[in-house]
């Protein structure tokens, strides 16, 4: 069962600022198995989000390699990377990042815009997920009309609608109150139990300990600890 899904080899991401080079990620080695839920913890600026962006194919490493499902991301063209994101990656953000002028239903559907899924099926899948998230009657509502917890559930539905290979969650409960944060945590756990591979980036070690089978701690761009 422990089939390897994501592998990072000597992954580096440097930023140049004038004469200085900021090492956001420095020689990170990492392996994530299919169906695993891995937590990435660390303080602000430790490189958690950078790691997530590299695995998502949104950013390009300065050195090293990310391999997802056998595909070397650095060898993919921009178009192939976009296709990879469209079909295999679901992302959940701390600030939800819902498109504010889209309805909840359309926000979920929008994740399938760049796939070959036909329009009717797109809508069916979006409605199904909205229902699962307990938001069946909020489909026409704009994000501004939803609570923070509801917005994050819509965002998770958007990430799941494409049935991704990996779900990348960047501080998914960071902007939520305790009750809503707990609900989101439960939802993620359920998803993982259903076989969804999840990479959870959080600064909340307790949350990571409760949800994840393995925790990687980053500090100044380096893996400093791996907790089983």
């Amino acid at each position: 069962m422990n089939q390897e899904l994501i592998k990072a080899e000597q992954l580096c991401r440097y930023y140049s600022r004038g004469n200085y080079t900021i090492k956001a990620l420095d020689a990170v080695d990492l392996t994530i198995a299919r169906g695993e839920m891995v937590g990435v913890v660390g303080s602000s600026g430790s490189g958690k989000s950078t790691l997530l962006n590299l695995v998502a194919g949104l950013d390009t490493p300065s050195a090293g390699e990310v391999i997802v499902g056998g595909a070397h991301l650095s060898k993919l063209s921009r178009k192939e990377l976009a296709r990879y994101r469209a079909e295999q990656v679901g992302m959940v953000f701390q600030s939800f990042n819902l498109i504010r002028h889209y309805s909840a239903l359309r926000n979920i559907e929008s994740a399938l815009y760049f796939t070959d899924v036909p329009r009717e099926e797109r809508l069916d899948r979006a409605r199904e997920l909205l229902d699962k998230m307990g938001l069946a009657n909020r489909g026409d509502h704009r994000p501004a009309d939803l609570s923070g917890g509801e917005q994050q559930r819509v965002a998770i539905a958007r990430a799941l609608v494409k049935r991704p290979t990996v779900l990348l969650a960047d501080e998914p409960s960071g902007n939520l109150d305790q009750t809503n944060a707990q609900q989101i945590a439960t939802l993620l756990k359920e998803l993982n139990l259903a076989g969804q591979t999840i990479v959870l980036v959080t600064h909340d070690l307790t949350l990571a300990e409760n949800l994840c089978s393995r925790i990687i701690r980053l500090d100044y761009g380096r893996v400093v600890e791996v907790l089983q």
Binding site: N53, A56, L58, D59, R78, K79, L81, A82, R83, R85, A86, E87, V89, M91, F93, N97, L98, I99, H101, S110, A111, Y113, F114, T115, R119, R158, K162
Partner: protein, 487 residues
């Protein structure tokens, strides 16, 4: 993304930013309205001329004039436009009918009024052409030998006739006076006995062989003879008269592009009235002298020389081939088809000028589109980042913004074309009022053909796309990581 997703998304964004979009679209609207209205004016003029040419069948009319176009001095060795030439012209492939345009002055009597006008003899075939058969009342000649006459509305006005169509079937007396060669010759010989005696008494026989007396005497006698010949030619005229029945009324000159004479008669009648003789008009006499018809056998009825000849040609035969053949015979040609081509060229430049002005307005509007889209990108950076995170590639984002620009172009162009059309209707209405007030024939000043609608739409969309290209490229190049970090 499907085309429907793109268009829905584009219109959604346009609708969301109502005021900004409305102002941008207004820019395109004004530009396209100006573009359409101006080109519509050009198209209207073109359409009017085209309709007139079609209506009067001008594409099938050519005028042949004496003198080759290559001659520097057309007076020298001019080919004669006589019956033999007419026969040659009628043999040219594509020529359907040839007839001389030989107008002459006649006096027409009706009841107790009369008017001296120009009469034109035409064969029946010519009378049945579109140009000459366009009558306001009645019909054309029944036959080539019919003693009938077609009079114009101008002529009716000249004689003060107010009965309109009731003149049809009534009889007019047509009279012309012609100078005869024999009357001129007789006048030379008519030297009264006293005058001859006086001349003989004045003759100094001794001096006949001295100095230049004899030469002076000869010159005096010769010039005296020429003066008497011309006096006889012009003043001892024969009166030719015919009674003709009015069969038709032709439209006024003002409403016809063809300069038709006030009186049209059959060629047969014209020959009867004017056959082989020089009319009283001094112009005709001098023309006869210049062409040699007076002195070079011009009095031979069989070889009369005409000032102009009209040809009805097959409009499907290229006019160039016919004009070449005519010019090869040593004549000049006036072709309406060639004139039409020149007019078309003139309109092309006119339209280009107008389109240029419209295009300047459109380029100005395009700056508005570019500005709107750039503002939109700045406001939607995060949205672009999210879409990229969801799987949009550069071309998806680029197309999204280009479709938005195109939608602005389509809406602006459609509204602009409608507005332009409304403007032309308004100006046309005012124009008609002015024409009516000035008793001018009412003509349509504007036309909105399909090609112009297509052109307006195409220009609007192309310029909008061009304006949206840079913002779209900028949006496509946006780094998703940076865009997602935007607050």
């Amino acid at each position: 993304m499907t085309a429907r997703d793109l268009v829905e998304g584009a219109f959604g964004n346009i609708w969301r930013m109502k005021l900004r979009s409305a102002l941008t679209i207004a820019g395109v609207l004004i530009a396209i309205a100006a573009f359409t209205a101006m080109l519509s004016f050009g198209a209207g003029g073109q359409q009017y001329i085209n309709d007139q040419f079609e209506e009067f069948d001008l594409f099938s009319i050519m005028r042949v004039l004496p003198g080759s176009p290559d001659d520097d001095e057309p007076e020298v060795d001019v080919a004669k436009l006589d019956d033999k030439a007419i026969e040659q012209l009628s043999r040219i492939p594509g020529v359907r009918n040839v007839y001389p345009l030989d107008a002459f002055k006649v006096t027409v009597y009706y009841a107790d009024t009369s008017a001296t006008v120009e009469a034109q003899g035409i064969p029946l075939a010519a009378a049945r052409t579109k140009t000459l058969s366009r009558l306001t009342a009645g019909t054309t000649f029944e036959s080539d030998t019919a003693s009938q006459i077609i009079i114009s509305e101008d002529f009716l006005r000249d004689i003060g006739y107010t009965g309109g169509d009731s003149i049809l079937g009534q009889q007019l007396i047509v009279e012309t006076q012609v100078a005869r060669l024999d009357s001129g010759v007789v006048k030379i010989l008519q030297v009264p006995g006293d005058s001859l005696r006086r001349r003989l008494n004045e003759l100094e026989v001794d001096s006949l062989f001295a100095g230049d007396y004899a030469r002076r005497l000869l010159f005096r006698e010769m010039s005296d003879a020429v003066a008497r010949f011309i006096d006889g030619l012009l003043n001892s005229r024969a009166t030719m008269r015919d009674t003709l029945t009015v069969c038709g009324i032709s439209p006024s000159r003002r409403s016809s592009p063809i300069n038709t004479r006030p009186v049209l008669i059959t060629s047969h009648t014209a020959q009867r009235l004017n056959e082989g003789k020089v009319a009283t008009d001094p112009e005709d006499l001098f023309y006869a002298l210049s062409t040699g018809s007076l002195t070079g056998g011009g009095w031979d009825f069989e070889s009369r020389v005409y000032p102009r000849v009209s040809m009805d040609v097959d409009p499907h035969v290229p006019y160039g081939a016919i004009t070449d053949s005519v010019e090869a015979l040593g004549f000049r040609v006036f072709s309406f088809a060639r004139e039409f081509e020149q007019v078309q060229k003139m309109f092309l430049f006119f339209d280009l000028g107008l389109a240029g002005v419209g295009l300047i307005a459109l380029i100005t509007a395009s700056l508005g589109i570019a500005n709107t889209l750039i503002m939109s990108i700045l406001e939607r950076r995060r949205e672009i980042g999210v879409l990229k995170a969801l799987g949009a590639d550069d071309s998806d984002i680029r197309i999204m913004f280009l479709v938005e620009a195109a939608c602005i172009g389509v809406v602006g162009s459609v509204l602009g074309i409608v507005t332009g059309w409304l403007i032309t209707r308004l100006v046309s209405f005012i124009g008609r009022l002015i024409m009516r007030a000035n008793e001018m024939p009412e003509i349509e000043l504007f036309a909105l053909p399909l090609w112009l609608i297509g052109l307006g739409l195409a220009f609007g969309i192309i310029v909008s796309l061009a304006a949206g290209y840079y913002p779209a490229m900028r949006a496509a190049r946006l780094d998703p990581v940076t865009a997602l970090r935007d607050e």
